[in-house]
Symmetry: C2
Subunit: 211 residues, 2 copies
DNA sequence: TTAAAAAAGGGGGAAAATCCCCTTTTTTAA
DNA sequence: TTAAAAAAGGGGATTTTCCCCCTTTTTTAA
């Protein structure tokens, strides 16, 4: 039966050719295309009769980078599975790629066996998330530790209510307090969280998952 | 060499005992403890000399549920790996457990081989994320599709600025518009997004990753 | 070509938020 | 036991937000 087809999008010719040679030694996979950047790749796709099943996507490329290309493919060719392949190991790059449709993210310094395993993962499960990616996803659920400020119980209660559409009078009623006490809490939290107004409080609360 | 020790925290006795029997047939694992809820389990931990390496944690339990217990264990026994085991397959439950330290999340209707695979994953990789969990994590990066409302360019620009601590007058200056035009955009967005005030706009913007 | 939508702007007034000053009582920590 | 923090509350003035009414011009879509 026919092999799973792969395209490589990477601006480093030697790396791409070497990668192609490696993948072509895998039993069930075959590189059918290589483009030096995203724009060339997309232009080529329009002229091709056979689409690849998997695209190995570099991130840093001239003219059209991996992120933009991933967004485009996700939208126009949703059946193509994208596996990011990059030198970048920072969380932001990983999250952006996954968020925009990449089904896996590998660093370029991995063992070839991991690449093979990832390719099979994409075919069989539809995704391949290494520990690095999983950890990054889990970590993205949490706010930055350094921004966490210790809030008293009543302050937190007020902050949660302040992050709703209630007026301060309504909040006072709910907390069984005088509106003037609410004024006090508000000023106290403005100072504590170093914000200028209620909008600042809401942004802090949401970004720190307090509501 | 000794087997990897496991504790089961689940309020259904028959299920827990059956699970114990199953796991005790696995070569490298041994159930050394069972508690009917989180509180009993924590009390038992304090009196035990041998801690389990893995805890299979139900979610819905009386007195002290799986989430509270996971938070406590993550804080006080960070080396214990928690694998959530639940009937609940909703995203919120999954995210809460992973966010609070669970290293995996399985539904109770899985094949025993998956459980075994998960246990090995916890021991070897430190986590086990099935496709369900991975998909949930990836999905959590995105806002709800059904809540996404099409915004005009200027509306979006205004919304982003409205989610800062700027006054409407300041925003008008930045957008080179009259404050009255800003008033118009505000009312327009209140209607469009079905919110009552600026706080509602901010919450919408942040929850939909527009800023 | 016409109608609708988008983009811009206005008056006026009430309600809410912010900001400055201040107080007392209870609880907690040293 | 004492001091500090937390928790509660007050006056009053200014600024900002919200809400109701309305307008014209340009761009887009039918």
């Amino acid at each position: 039966m026919s092999k799973h087809t792969i395209a490589i999008v990477d601006d480093h010719l030697l790396f791409a050719q070497s990668l192609k040679s490696l993948i072509n030694t895998f039993d069930d996979f075959e590189v059918i295309h290589h483009a030096l950047n995203g724009k060339i790749f997309i232009d080529d796709l329009k002229n091709k009769t056979e689409l690849p099943k998997i695209v190995l996507m570099d991130l840093n490329m001239p003219i059209m980078d991996g992120l933009e290309t991933t967004k485009y493919l996700n939208k126009h060719y949703p059946n193509i599975k994208i596996l990011a392949l990059s030198m970048d190991d920072d969380e932001n790059s990983i999250l952006k790629m996954i968020k925009n449709g990449a089904k896996g993210y590998l660093l370029k310094d991995i063992h070839p066996n991991i690449l093979k395993e990832a390719l099979y993962g994409l075919i069989n499960e539809g995704y391949y998330h290494s520990k690095m990616v999983s950890d990054t996803l889990v970590h993205s659920l949490h706010p930055s530790a350094e921004k966490k400020i210790n809030l008293l119980d009543r302050e937190l209660e007020f902050l949660k209510l302040a992050s709703t559409e209630m007026t301060y009078k309504e909040i006072a009623d709910v907390m069984h307090l005088s509106p003037k006490t609410i004024d006090g809490y508000r000023e106290q939290l403005f100072k504590k969280l170093e914000v200028k107004n209620r909008i600042g409080l809401v942004v802090y609360a949401l970004k720190n998952n307090l509501v």
